[in-house]
Subunit: 145 residues, 2 copies
Amino acid sequence: MHTMEEIVGRMSARGLRVTDQRKTLAKLFAETPGYLSPKDVYEYMGKTYSGLSFDTVYRNLRVMEELGVLEQVVFEEGVKFKLHCREEHHHHHMICLQCGHTYPITFCPMEQTAVPSDFRVVKHKFEVFGYCKSCEQEEAAASEA
Amino acid sequence: MHTMEEIVGRMSARGLRVTDQRKTLAKLFAETPGYLSPKDVYEYMGKTYSGLSFDTVYRNLRVMEELGVLEQVVFEEGVKFKLHCREEHHHHHMICLQCGHTYPITFCPMEQTAVPSDFRVVKHKFEVFGYCKSCEQEEAAASEA
DNA sequence: GTGAATGCAAACAATTTGCACGTGT
DNA sequence: ACACGTGCAAATTGTTTGCATTCAC
């Protein structure tokens, strides 16, 4: 797994400066199993840094993405970020709609997909959405109220 | 296939008014095999309607989506619209990155995907991107220049 | 000390809304 | 005639940029 130290180390190796804010950002992603929106990040960071501005959050998200530490994904609800997957081999994800937690899917549908010879495939996207066990239980509890 | 007349008919059946602009919009989508962004639509419509405003385009796209005539998809580059697929059975798409043309994929990867019993699947997304034959040829021709 | 990081304000882009006017039914 | 559709302007939201100040190295 990526640890906060590892991420920070990678930043300084590239000549980037290790500020408190970046350390906190690294820690946040190191400890978050799923996706975070810029707004999520802003709100979390805002607790610690009162004068925080949104543009710095965006800048640092972009920096960390260019560093290869984070990856960005576009959902219906907007852009989100998560730690870049460590797994070397190609894989896909199951994503919890409630908590954003992701689980790997090793199966890749491209292997099974018949592609006409006159279509040159460049990339593909396979994502499964649903609710993980704990979120499912919470939802059930909430709907009983 | 959806024809312009059919779409327009569906609109008036719901009490919506059939304006020139909506007819043109219906025709545009009836004749377009792939995805169009709101901007694409605005530019196309603008040729005919000089005083056209963006908000009307958005409004009509939404109206046609609610009617079930169009479907909206979110890509990295932004939101796009296409005619709602007629095929009853669930399917996926191969999408040309150049012209936006879509081709159906009947295979659904969910059948093959092992889902843990404690994850409740709600929806999934499977999309293949690449270049169709004619766009591939154009690209090859362009890169020779 | 120097250059990169930050905050602030302002610019931008995409999309939505309120309102007065025009038009399909 | 009446209600819905349209254009215009303005509001919103999400994101980026320029610039002066501050801080890590």
